[in-house]
C-alpha cells in the first residue's frame, strides 16, 4: 500500500503524560510524526491532538484504534488530505536592513499573502499561514535576504464533514451528564 499524507485527530482529557502515551504508539511501529499539536477544543476541558504523518492507510487505521483505546482519549480518527482544511503558521525573522535595500521583500510578502507581524529597529518578523509547501516557497524566496530564524507551527486541521468527530464526543459527554 502506498504511503500518503494523513491527519490524525484525537479528542482527549487534559492529563499529564498523555502526549507521551500517544507518541509511544508511533514509536513502537517506528512511524515518524511529522508534527503534533495539542490545544483546547470547542468543548470545555476537552483537548485536541492533531498529528501529521505520511503512512499507509492500513497502518494509520491501526494506530488510530490504539490511540482511541487509551483510557484518557475520547475519540480518535484519521483524515485524508482532501477531507480536512488545514494550515500551518510560519514565522521568518529577517534583518531590518533587508527592507531598506529596495522594495523586493515587501513585494514577495505581498505576493505570498504573508504579512509583517512586527518591524523593529534591528529585525522584522514575517508571518505566513498556509500549507507547508507554501511556507517553504516563501522561505526560498526570502532566503537571499538572510533569514535569521524560521519556525513552522505544525499542522492544525478541521474536518470538512459537517460535524466531525467532535459531535460524537459531545454526544458521549451529554450521555455522561444525563446518567
Amino acid at each position: 500500500m502506498e504511503k500518503r499524507e494523513f491527519t490524525i485527530t484525537a479528542y482527549t482529557e487534559n492529563t499529564v503524560g498523555l502526549l507521551h502515551r500517544i507518541t509511544i504508539i508511533f514509536t513502537k511501529r517506528k512511524i515518524n510524526i511529522e508534527s503534533i499539536t495539542a490545544s483546547e477544543s470547542e468543548m470545555e476541558n476537552i483537548y485536541r491532538f492533531t498529528i501529521a504523518v505520511t503512512e499507509t492507510e492500513e497502518l494509520v487505521g491501526k494506530v488510530v484504534k490504539q490511540i482511541e483505546k487509551l483510557v484518557e482519549v475520547h475519540k480518535a480518527a484519521y483524515f485524508k488530505k482532501e477531507e480536512v482544511v488545514q494550515q500551518e503558521l510560519a514565522l521568518y525573522k529577517l534583518a531590518t536592513e533587508s527592507l531598506t535595500n529596495g522594495l523586493e521583500v515587501e513585494r514577495i510578502v505581498r505576493e505570498h499573502s504573508a504579512r509583517f507581524l512586527t518591524i523593529e529597529k534591528n529585525f522584522v518578523v514575517i508571518e505566513k499561514a498556509g500549507y507547508r509547501r507554501e511556507a517553504f516557497a516563501l522561505f526560498d524566496e526570502l532566503k537571499p535576504f538572510g533569514i535569521k530564524e524560521f519556525v513552522l507551527s505544525g499542522r492544525v486541521a478541521v474536518s470538512r464533514a459537517e460535524h466531525g468527530i467532535g459531535a460524537e464526543v459531545r454526544e458521549l459527554l451529554q450521555a455522561e451528564t444525563n446518567t
Binding site: R21, Q66, K69, H74
Partner: protein
Amino acid sequence: MNTIEAPSKMETKSTKTTERVTGADAVVRILLQEGVDLVFGYPGGAIMPVYDSLYDYQDKIHHVLARHEQGATHAAQGYARASGKVGVCLATSGPGATNLITGLADAQIDSTPMVCITGQVPSALLGSDAFQETDVIGISMPVTKWNTQVTRAEEIPEALAKAFYIAKSGRPGPVLVDITKDAQFQEFDFNYEKCTGLRSYVPVPELDQTKVQEAADLINNAERPYILFGQGVILGNAEKEFKTFIEKTGIPSAWTIMGLSALETDHPLNVGMLGMHGNYGPNLLTNECDVLIAIGMRFDDRVTGNLDKYAKQAKVIHLEIDPAEIDKNVNTDVAVLGDCKESLTELTKLVEPKSHDKWLQRFRDCDAMEQEKVIQNELHPTTDLLSMGEVIRIINEKTNGDAILVTDVGQHQMVACRYTKFNQSKSNITSGGLGTMGFGLPAGLGAALGAPDRTVVTVIGDGGLQMTIQEFATIYQTRAKVKVLLLNNEFLGMVRQWQQLFFDKRYSATEMINPDFQTIAKGYHIPTNKVTERDKLDEAITEFINHDGAYFLEVMVGKENNVFPMVPSGSGVAEIRLE
C-alpha cells in the same frame, strides 16, 4: 496547560465520614475497601510510610515479601489469574520500581489485572536525579494500561480508585500509581469512593445485534466452521456460554495457550492447541475451514505463523472486547464487539443446532497421525532417556486433571501445556505473550496463595528456574503449597532445538553446567527429590503430589529431545512439521 483530571463517576452511596489520616494510611485503607487481603512487595526508603501503615493492619492484609520485585509482580500475576482478583504489588522508587517492568510488560500483553504502587522521592526533589529517583511513569508507560503520579495526599483516593477500576474493567491490565514520599506522610481528610466509570473510557463496547445476526448467518451457512478461543473466554467468565454455543453448533474448537482450560480437555469438540507447537489438525485445518470464528483471542504471530498463508480461504468472525484487535493482524469479515459472555449468549440464540461429523472427523484423523508420529513416543518413550511428556502423563494420572498448571517458558512449557489434562477453567497460568523466563516459580507461589484449596503444580526448566530461584525463600516463608517440578535437560532447550533445526547444531551458549538444585532447594528448607530412572518416576510423582506442602521434584530428562509438531517461524500453519 492546567491539569484537569478526568472526572470520574463515583459511587453515590456516600458514607461521607471524613477522617484525618496520612497518605500512607489512606493507601492501606483503600486496599481494604477494594477487598485486598494479600499484597506482594518489597520495601525501601520511598515506600516506607506505606509499609509502616501496613504494620497496623497485619491482621487484615497479609504482605508477601518476595525476594526480588520481579518475583513480586509474577506472584501477583499468578495470584490474579488463579483467583480472578486484582494482584497488588508494592515497591520502592528507583531500582525497586525498575524491577517491576518485566512483570508489568508480561501482565500488559497477557491482560492480567494488577495494581502496582511505587514510592517516589519527595515531590520537591522530582526531576533532580535524587537518590533512587527514576522516571517510573515514563518507563512504565509502554507496559501499563494506565499510570499516574501522585504528589499530594488528597490525590491518593481518586488515583487508586481509578487504578483498581481500570485494572479490572474491560480488557484487564496492569496499572501503576507512583506516590511521592511527602504525599505518603501528609495528613488529609480521607474519604473513599470506588470508581465506577470514566467519561473517556469505554471498557466494554456495546453489542451490535446486526453484527450478531451477520455472524449467525455465516455460521448457519458454513460447512466447515472452526472456532479458535483465547483467554477472553476466561477473563469474561464466559466458559458456560462458550460451551453452550459450541455444543449447539457442533463446531470443532481449538485453544490458544492463553485460552487453555476454558474448555475441559476431554470435551469431544476440544480439538487441541493452536500455534507453533500446537496440535497438527488445529494448525493444518485452519487453512481448510470455510468460516473461522475467533473468540477472545488476538491472532498472535505464534498462533498464525506467516500471515500471508493464514486462513485465506475462510470468512473470519471475530468476537472481541478490544476494538484495536479487530483487523490488527487478520482481516475480519464480521467483527462482533463486546463482552463475549453477552455476545455468545446472543449468538447462541440465532444459530441453528448442527453437528459437523465429517469435518470433526478430519481433526480426529489428524490427531491419529499426530498420536502415531509424536504423542505416543513422547508419552511412552521406548528409549532409556526420560521424556518431559511422560512426566506430565503421570502427573495427569495423579491429579486427574484437577490441578492448576503453572509453567515457565521453553520446551517444558510447550510439553506441559500440550499434555496436561484440565477439568476446570482458570487452571492454566503461563507467560504466553511475553514468554518471560523466570515467571514460573513466583507465579506458582502466587497461584498457590490465590487458590489455597487447589493443587498447584509449576513446571520449570533448568534455565528459567535460575532466573527467579530466590523465590524459594518466599515459598518457604509463606508456606505456600506449591509443587515445583524441574524438567532438567541441562540446556536452554528451546533455543537449542532451534539451533539444531535452523542453525546447523551450532549450540552457541545454550549448554548449562548447572548447580546442584537439590542442595539449593534443601538450603531453602523445601522437601526435595530427584529422579534419573524411569522405575522411580511414578513413586516420586505420587509423593510430589500427595505431600502436604511445598515440594521440589527434579527430573533429569533427555538432553536433546525436541518438541514437535512445529510450525517453523516464517512458515504458514499448514506447513506444520510432525518431525
